[in-house]
Symmetry: C2
Subunit: 267 residues, 2 copies
């Protein structure tokens, strides 16, 4: 995991290392170079019957998964649709413990969690999937579940969304593509609504979010298939280690040029 | 559910109805008064073996739950700690389907999801709990799970955090209290770090987040106990219906006085 290199690239690309955020950014890089702040310590599992990881996984077809996710959006919206697009297939092909996972309960991830516009439900759903399958980063365990979820959020932030076009779209009008530069529902949907001029209740907005959901399901399966083949090398990072606060990397989107410097540990 | 009244109060309290956001706010209230935009349509359950709701619940002691959550934070951090503070007791008192729920997999909720600073993990954990127990708002089903999760996010946003003081705190120094005015980790932790001057890696910041986790677990159980008694009347709302975009109600925190008006449906 080349966290330092990846984050340095991201920071540089967004102008943070050259701009107003350089102090926080540079301090973050420095902290990372010395092994991070160690804010996320190891933890030990308690070990319920389904808490043995990784869960058995068989490789899935990304396009088939995306099509299921697209249709599921119209039943349970983004978060539960991503989870069910993958778990419904594994319930058939593998069985337990997938059959006992209450997927539909995650319908609340819609609209960035109960319509609050926080993390996009498709990102939250992808994180549920990667962490439930690969497992949590408990003491001595792989961090790949969390890092793959983080990688999905970065991919989502950078992508021209929606990436995936369903085989039989419910809306045939052209759906504009926008880049959120953020994993948040409010930012992602807001930028798309601004570009398209379409309201939240429009058929186009709904189909856009169904396609985003399909796009996330598709790429999640691509990464899981790589992992199953032993070929997964994460591009995910834990941003708190670099920013000295849990954070997205689009600081200026909210802070403008007045990015605060978090209190730092004394040397 | 007095969504309109509650949101009107919130909007008024934050000055949105009088300020730059009045157009979006007023339009939202108007849309709500006519029954909302109907963006969240009904959905039908598929019905796996654990997808029968509500899950059996017995009333729990809020303080006992908070103490478990506080200790669990030091093992699996905020999100999984809230879930496990409640589910570990129900695994003992009720058994299945709680025993088959892979709680530890939700460790990734830490730091606002993989340290990205999105929704605070304790809020996400509370939403997982209320929705897994009460069930999703599928066709013909109660919306109380999602609305209780939403109520928790509003309560969290408004609270002087941390509310709960553990019986045997690991850190005995005074922990400042701050109001996040947001359900997001980045905002909540950032405002606390600014007020306290303590860095992310400090013992004080860690204990503050453990106490926030305990506070959220405590209040979640209070609401669930009311619900078990048939006394739950939600104070939660689905903000997208009022704002015409999934959103928090602290618009000015990011937008300043330049709050965009989302595209609206033609009358």
């Amino acid at each position: 995991m080349e966290v330092g290199k990846l984050l340095e690239e991201q920071l540089s690309r967004r102008g943070l290392l050259k701009g107003a955020g350089s102090l926080a950014g540079a301090a973050g890089i420095a902290a990372l170079a010395t092994g991070g702040l160690g804010i996320f310590s190891s933890a030990e599992a308690k070990g319920g019957p389904t808490e043995k990881w990784p869960w058995p996984y068989v490789k899935l077809d990304p396009a088939t998964t995306a099509e299921i996710a697209y249709e599921e959006w119209y039943r349970v919206f983004c978060g539960a649709a991503v989870i069910n697009s993958i778990f419904s297939q594994l319930q058939e092909k593998v069985g337990e413990p997938y059959r006992s996972f209450p997927v539909d309960a995650f319908k609340f991830l819609e609209g960035g969690m109960s319509a609050w516009g926080t993390v996009c439900g498709s990102n939250a759903g992808a994180n549920v999937v990667t962490n439930v399958i690969i497992g949590p980063s408990l003491k001595g365990a792989s961090e790949d579940g969390m890092l793959m979820g983080s990688e999905m959020m970065q991919w989502y932030s950078d992508a021209q969304m929606p990436v995936y076009t369903p085989k039989k779209p419910r809306v045939t009008a052209e759906i504009p593509k926008t880049t959120a530069n953020s994993p948040l529902c409010h930012v992602s949907v807001g930028k798309w609504m601004k570009a398209s001029g379409k309201p939240l209740g429009s058929a186009e907005r709904k189909d856009r979010c169904a396609r985003v959901t399909a796009s996330v399901a598709y790429h999640t399966v691509e990464l899981l298939n790589d992992w199953k083949d032993g070929q997964y090398k994460t591009r995910g990072a834990l941003p708190a280690k670099s920013f000295n606060i849990p954070a997205q990397s689009n600081c200026m989107d909210c802070h403008g040029s007045n990015i605060p410097t978090p209190p730092l540990a004394k040397k």
